[in-house]
């Protein structure tokens, strides 16, 4: 099976796909290149996606995850259930059961869940396209969805995501209804009501971090956290003040990850963390990032305490040593915007 996955990955690379697949741990794969990172649970129950990427990348995301589930859960493989190695299944090696294993396995299951970690379009843009498969989808010669399987996926998010996406301005919702979550939760955490691919999946709400609707998703057997935009290795944390984000909430979110994560040995390995953007992380990486956020927050808070204006704070370069890692002078989230968000987030409300 591992060889099949490997061959698939090689083939994907050879055909120049823009989506890169990184096998992470247990059932979990990280998809890179669709906007925000996507965490995918792939297995016998089908596909669960944490975030859906941008709408433009949906066809490639769909193609990638369907090929992946076919390779992982529906490809012929050698019979490993032989003699003493298969004591509890006397019929396993008899045809047609053998053929179902080595020649004609059952079809893979489609996308069953999409969990949105926030309302951002690079995380929710693919909701509609990925949650409803066309009836005659054929991937690698296999028809999706299989007979008897509902073609639509459940889209789950914190209720603040739905609230903000459906908020109307002049009679029009902020985001088209096809992209809205179909199910929401409102507490501090939420558990999928059944195992998916053999493990429990738990959502945690981190209020007032990147926004007021952030969720991180914990795969309890695979020991992988999909952190959404609470964590990024490529930029300063995006504090969306207009949508309820705060610097303290961002810091709390990072500490929340560290509370759950257990390193395998010496602050490394063990629980792996898929960030909203950037590379796969573990405890040591999250701690380094958390420290950076805490240090900048403390500097800006001290400046505010001294009565410095926003311009004076910017001039003091509170992010100086981290700009080479996370800073930007152009694009959607510049260093200036980050410092301003921290400043406003910490300034006394008038």
């Amino acid at each position: 099976m591992k060889r099949l996955i490997f061959l698939f990955l090689i083939a994907a690379a050879a055909f120049g796909q823009d989506i890169h697949v990184l096998p992470v741990q247990g059932n979990i794969y990280m998809l890179v290149g669709a906007g925000g990172n996507i965490a995918a649970s792939i297995g016998r129950d089908g596909i669960l996606l944490v975030d859906a990427g941008t709408s433009q990348m949906s066809p490639k995301v769909l193609s990638t995850v369907l090929q992946l589930v076919t390779a992982v859960a529906a490809s012929p493989g050698p019979n490993r259930c032989v003699g003493l190695h298969c004591p509890d299944s006397p019929y396993r090696w008899s045809s047609p059961s053998l053929n179902a294993l080595i020649a004609s396995p059952g079809p893979p299951k489609p996308i069953r869940y999409i969990i949105n970690t926030s309302m951002d379009p690079d995380h929710t843009g693919g909701n509609e396209a990925l949650s409803a498969l066309p009836a005659d989808s054929k991937i690698l010669g296999v028809t999706f969805p299989p007979v008897g399987v509902a073609p639509t996926a459940t889209v789950i998010a914190h209720e603040n995501v739905l609230g903000r996406m459906s908020a109307e301005t002049k009679g029009k919702p902020a985001v088209a209804s096809g992209l809205w979550p179909t199910d929401t939760y409102r507490g501090s955490s939420y558990k999928l009501s059944e195992f998916f691919n053999g493990e429990g999946v738990q959502l945690f709400h981190d209020p007032a971090a990147h926004t007021d609707g952030d969720s991180m998703v914990y795969f309890r057997y695979s020991d992988v956290i999909a952190a959404g935009d609470i964590l990024s290795t490529t930029s300063y944390p995006v504090i969306d003040l207009a949508k309820g984000g705060t610097i303290q909430g961002a810091l709390d979110g990072l500490n929340h990850i560290l509370d759950i994560a257990i390193p395998e040995f010496r602050s490394q390995g063990g629980t792996l963390v898929i960030p909203g953007h950037g590379r796969l992380c573990d405890t040591g990486d999250v701690a380094n990032y958390r420290n950076m956020v805490a240090i900048i927050k403390d500097r800006v808070a001290d400046s505010i305490k001294k009565g410095m204006t926003l311009q004076q704070v910017k001039a003091s370069k509170p992010t100086l040593e981290y700009d080479g890692l996370y800073g930007a002078t152009t694009g959607a989230w510049t260093t200036d915007m980050f410092v301003e968000a921290v400043y406003k987030s910490l300034s006394p409300k008038r």
Binding site: V32, P263, R266, L272, D285, A287, E321, L325
Partner: protein, 279 residues
């Protein structure tokens, strides 16, 4: 027979390896090596003075990073068991063990493992595999590949987690890459490290470290347990301009030298120090 016929001469030069030529391992580093601690010894036992960055080509960003360092950061639960990273490790206390991972059938050298007393197993892959993509995880040891250049093992490392370059806060970022040249001279080992960091160094940091073969030592179990005593919820650091301990280093070396920087790593910097010392 004074002269071999040309064909026979050629045959004599061709080794009898019907399955193909063997992979030559030019130098065997296997064994335990003890550190010599004669280079910069003052900073390798008790640790360097706080605020002393001499010899490190820090840029302004790297200097700010170092200045904000509060040694209490070691109290953070995530940092208490943080190991030395690959770039720092050679100068750490404790022995190092090299061992070869060899394919038992093909006899080809898959990897050279380097184990340190207080750190993690470090693997130097020798089988020609590529380095991982940028989005793959980083580690304290980094991802290393090696190749032979003459008798020298040349190691290229990336994917290293950001960590300290000196135990007083002088650091390298996770954008750093490292090249090492490992040479064996009989019972002595010399490691020449070139660390390049576009974020916190203005020039590559170059350092050599020596070890001696030690046939009577074994690496011992070195556990680590996180202590939860007196843990603050804050991240310890100094705000800019409040780092009192910067004066400590200045008490025994010229203050401008303590600030590090590329120019302080060159011999002609002595002249600048002499000029600065003049009344």
């Amino acid at each position: 027979m004074r002269f071999l016929p040309p064909l026979l001469l050629l045959a004599a030069c061709v080794p009898a390896f019907p399955q193909g030529a063997p992979v030559l391992e030019l130098t065997d580093f296997s064994g335990v090596w003890a550190e010599r601690v004669h280079e910069d010894s003052y900073e390798r036992s008790g640790g360097p003075p706080l605020g002393d960055y001499q010899g490190i080509p820090l840029n302004d960003a790297g200097r700010r990073k170092a200045d904000s360092h509060d040694h209490s950061e070691w109290s953070l639960p995530e940092f208490q068991c943080r190991p030395h990273s690959a770039p720092y490790q050679w100068r750490a206390l404790g022995s190092v063990r090299f061992w070869n991972e060899v394919d038992p059938i093909g006899r080809d050298l898959r990897a050279i493992h380097v184990e340190y007393l207080r750190s993690l197993d470090r693997v130097i892959y020798m089988d020609g595999r590529p380095h991982p993509p940028e989005y793959a995880p980083y580690s304290w040891s980094g991802f290393s590949t090696g190749k032979w250049v003459g008798n020298t093992l040349v190691v290229t490392t990336d994917h290293i987690k950001a960590s300290y370059l000196r135990r007083n806060g002088a650091s390298f970022s996770d954008k750093a890459t490292m090249q090492e040249f490992i040479d064996r001279h009989g019972d002595y080992l010399t490691i020449t490290m070139i660390l390049t960091d576009p974020v916190w160094l203005e020039e590559p940091f170059i350092q050599t470290t020596n070890y001696a073969l030690d046939t009577h030592t074994a690496l011992t179990y070195y556990p680590c347990t996180v202590s939860e005593e007196n843990i603050s919820t804050a991240v310890p650091h100094f705000l800019p301009g409040t780092t009192e301990h910067l004066k400590d280093a200045a008490g025994w070396i010229p203050p401008i030298a303590a600030r590090g920087g590329a120019e302080s790593t060159y011999p002609d910097y002595r002249e600048k120090l002499k000029q600065a010392a003049k009344p």
